[in-house]
Amino acid sequence: MSRAGIIAWQVLISVTLAVVWEWGYDLHERVPWLVPDLLDPYFVSKPSAIYDQFLHASCLVDKRGTWNGWSSGEFSKCMARSENNLWVATLVTLKNTLAGFAVGTSSGFVLGLALGRSDRLTAIFQPFIVAANSVPRIALAPIIILAFGLGNASKIVTAWLVVVFLVFFNTFEGARSVDRDHISAARLLGASEWQITRTVIIPSTMAWLFASLTPAISFALIGVILGEFIGAQQGIGRMIIEAEARGEAAGMMVAVFVLMIVGVVLAGIVRRVQAYLLRWRPQTVGNL
């Protein structure tokens, strides 16, 4: 299928979904067998209402629906009024996601490398890792909030907890499967033990680490939102909880859309970085 054809289909599907979402429930009275109850705007809102809510939540328009210009100062006044407006919430969630991602991938890599290269450490720690990994991460979230408070730290820890195992297992596998001939080659070319670690084992294992980065960034975002659900003052997850408490479907939907955009952008960036770092591979896997 041609590229134009694919895009045409994608546009058609998007428009259809938006139309059904916007006006579909209007037909509910007349043809109840065709329109499910779930389409009720009370639950899922409507595209137009979501758009309006977006403009309000982001301080782009005031309560009467007029645009807040930069010059009038209305925008900054609105921003100052709410400590968890859309911009602040997005920034907070983004920052915590990146922090959790960074801490999770680096510690997962170090742990995976250390255990992957040492049979003794593996033998000692294996049962602990298996046990820890079988605990659903969500079950630990309340404990983390209790221990680390409502601020950023608890969100970063939750994200770390979700990411670290994923990266650990990938790195562990990678560290175990370093090509023995590569190690022999390096040794015969005069490499010391440390040089072998630095020039063969680490780069070879990095390939496995890079492959886990795309899922890791998505996991980090899940971890942060999870933490914000349980207890937070700021963040997109907090916005969703607040909107839910007020029964505002549009407010929740705005947050969901922002999360979607954040997720797509983050994954896109990571995938680019990953493709660059793995450019030496015959073909980059997972090039979606």
């Binding site: 090509d179 001939d181 590569h182 022999s184 080659a185 390096a186 040794r187 015969l188 070319l189 005069g190 490499a191 040089q195 020039t199 063969v200 780069p203 070879s204 990095m206 390939a207 450019r279 030496w280 591979r281 015959p282």
Partner: protein
Amino acid sequence: MTPSIRIETRDLGKVFAIDGRDMRAVDGVSLSIREGEFVALLGPSGCGKSTILNMIATLLSTSSGEILIDGKAIDPRRPDPKVGYVFQRDTLFPWRTVQANIGYALELSGVPAAERRERTETALAQAGLQGFGHYYPASLSGGMRQRAALMRTLIVQPQILLMDEPFGALDTHTKLEMHRVLLNIWEREKQTVLFVTHDLGEALTLSDRIILLSARPGRVKDEFIVDFPRPRDAVTLRETPAYGALFSRIWHSLGEEFVKGADT
């Protein structure tokens, strides 16, 4: 003055434990290879010829016997820097460019970047890889990769070269091309070479002497002097009557071992 012995094995043996049973791979092999000599170690598959080479390279431990390089017993924990090794399969580091692969050993010993670049450029040219320095191994052909691997070993100018069927995975045409490259380098540098192969044509083309191993367990069965004049041409050499005569003599002896090897 006769050239000195550079590689010597005395009554070398290797036993592998496979499924709890001892399998004797190499038995009582005594070899001596002189300075500047090109020796081919020829034998059927599974006869232990690579095992012998790997023991000399310290990649494998010995079960019995001794290995001496320049009259001194080798240290199994520390490879001798005078010895270069070329693997059967290409072991270039895929995450390094071709040039960075070739310069690897220089990097290890702390040669400054400018000198490294100069020496790797020369090596690339020698291997006919000009302009491919910034490529990653994955985008090169098998022959090019093996040439790069050869240069990675040769860049530190080892006086002794151990080669484990380095061209075994290449097609005939590429193989002959590799013979030309290797002969060129060797005529100039005259390293002491121990070259493992199961390809009689290859052994005749390259070596001064062929040591024929028996089927498992590997023992020295016979030895042949290959006294074709040098420099040799890998292609035209094969058309001379002397080549044909020696080929059939060794082929007969080798053939017996292939039959025995197939029985076990």
